[in-house]
């Protein structure tokens, strides 16, 4: 059987981590390549990079980061942030990323998903979704609404409807972020995750709200997620990936224990 994946997420701005990660001895480092090396060594199953630089210059620096990461770690990694065209996808994939993720750009231009899937295969295209709770209406039957521009702009689009549409267009995976849970460290949004995961045929990575290993256990079982994204709980060394994996393994969740 497949192992549930544990995926650290790194935010990069102009080639530097926006928040450093703590190394052994609590040294703070800001280099995304070193961070990737650290998490690869800890047994991360995959790594996600979000480039939050908007400028052309920032993009060029990010491509260099992607190339250096690809020479350093030998597990899949994805890159998202500001990918607007198939050409943007191509440059990131040729630089060595396995997957690209599209979020706001795909909501504005859903054809981007289909074009990307045709050019590189569905397995390369991850749909990033930022979602918040909203009163259920005939237009928002699931009671969850898509939000774009990093969570700032509500769209009136139903999250479940969009997930199904993106799957139909050729998305190979969904990275599902709850705006309500994000940053709370109170746990993932289990209802949202289970709703989306049980209604699509592609894997769902849960994101937003992880504060302790119990939260991963909940979302990978009751939340029916295929993978869990983690950030601050490992960046600040309150937990390590081997510790999280051992916790899950001891409670019957299949995780990759030898690397």
């Amino acid at each position: 059987m497949l192992s549930k994946r544990i995926i650290p997420c790194l935010d990069v701005r102009a080639g530097k981590l926006t928040k450093g990660i703590k190394f052994q001895g609590n040294i703070d480092i800001g280099d995304p390549v070193e961070a990737a090396r650290e998490y690869y060594g800890q047994g991360a199953d995959e790594i996600v990079f979000y480039d939050i630089t908007a400028s052309a210059e920032g993009r060029a620096i990010m491509l260099d980061v992607v190339r250096r990461v690809a020479e350093t770690i030998f597990i899949p990694f994805s890159v998202g942030g500001g990918i607007r065209t198939v050409e943007d996808m191509r440059s990131v994939i040729l630089a060595g990323a396995e997957k690209v993720s599209v979020n706001t750009e795909a909501v504005k231009n859903p054809a981007l998903i289909a074009e990307g899937a045709r050019a590189f295969g569905s397995q390369c295209i991850v749909l990033g979704m930022d979602v918040r709770k909203a009163p259920a209406t005939p237009d928002l039957p699931s009671g969850y609404e898509m939000v774009i521009h990093g969570g700032r702009t509500p769209t009136g689009i139903d999250a479940l409807g969009w997930a199904k549409e993106a799957e139909r267009l050729g998305a190979g995976e969904i990275c599902l972020n709850s705006i309500d849970a994000d940053g709370t460290k109170n746990g993932y949004e289990l209802n949202l995750t289970a709703l989306i995961s049980s209604n699509v045929g592609i894997p769902v990575i849960a994101s937003g709200g992880a504060g302790k290993p119990e939260h991963l256990l909940d979302v990978l079982t009751r939340g029916r997620a295929d993978a869990a994204l983690i950030a601050s709980m490992v960046h600040y060394r309150t937990h390590t990936i081997p510790e999280i994996k051992a916790f899950l393994h001891d409670r019957g969740v299949k995780t990759r224990m030898n690397w």
Binding site: S3, I75, E173, R256
Partner: protein
């Protein structure tokens, strides 16, 4: 020198990067004259079987691959390269290279485990139970897992050519070995240290499957 066969079947640079990391010189090319000089061949690829076979025929690389395998050169197929070595594929109903008797099958649509429907493609980390003691799969840590992304799998006509098995709702063949040809459905170049070990073993392998 290791030749990585480029037949327009996806991005092959990750295999080259893994070999560079291992200090093994390699070349990514579709030019049979350059590949002729390679001491061993890696045949990777992602995408659809029909398009891949069309590209192989158009470039004449299909005949060269058959010749390299017949002449005893060590050949490693990866992912799509572990599928098109069989006789035919359910994907695109494609006729394939026929280097190993058998068929490439699609996972059944109603794949389930423990009462829960399984997602297709099979994507992520899974175990491989290797059989025998093939030199390419020697020394791997117990319980090692490998990274898979696929909806089709090789089904050799004779289990004797299955070098490894994986469970995903069904038990399927995830590694094939026949003489100087070895092939894996997973991505060793993306499977961390155990995957790199397989590549390293292949780089040292003389091409005999002495069991």
């Amino acid at each position: 020198m290791i030749g990585i066969v480029d037949y327009r079947a996806g991005n092959l640079t990750s295999v080259a990067r893994a070999l560079a990391h291992l200090g093994k010189p390699c070349v990514v090319t579709g030019d049979p004259r350059i590949l002729d000089d390679a001491e061993r061949i890696i045949f990777p690829g992602v995408g659809a079987a029909g398009a891949a076979m069309a590209n192989l025929r158009e470039t004449g690389l299909d005949d060269h691959l058959r010749r390299w395998v017949q002449n005893g050169r060590p050949v490693l197929g990866i992912c799509l390269g572990a599928q098109v070595i069989l006789e035919n594929s359910e994907e695109d109903d494609a006729a394939c290279l026929g280097l190993v008797p058998g068929t490439v099958r699609r996972f059944p649509p109603d794949l389930a485990s423990g009462g829960r429907r399984l997602k297709i493609p099979h994507m992520g980390w899974n175990r491989v139970a290797f059989c025998g003691d093939h030199p390419v799969f020697a020394g791997l840590p117990a319980g090692a897992e490998f990274y898979f992304v696929h909806a089709y799998y090789p089904a050799p006509a004779d289990d004797a050519w299955a070098a490894g098995w994986t469970e995903y709702g069904i038990r399927f063949c995830s590694a094939v070995a026949r003489g100087n040809l070895v092939a894996v459905q997973f991505h060793p170049e993306k499977s961390g240290r155990p995957g790199l070990m397989i590549l390293e073993n292949f780089c040292r392998w003389g091409g005999s499957d002495a069991q």
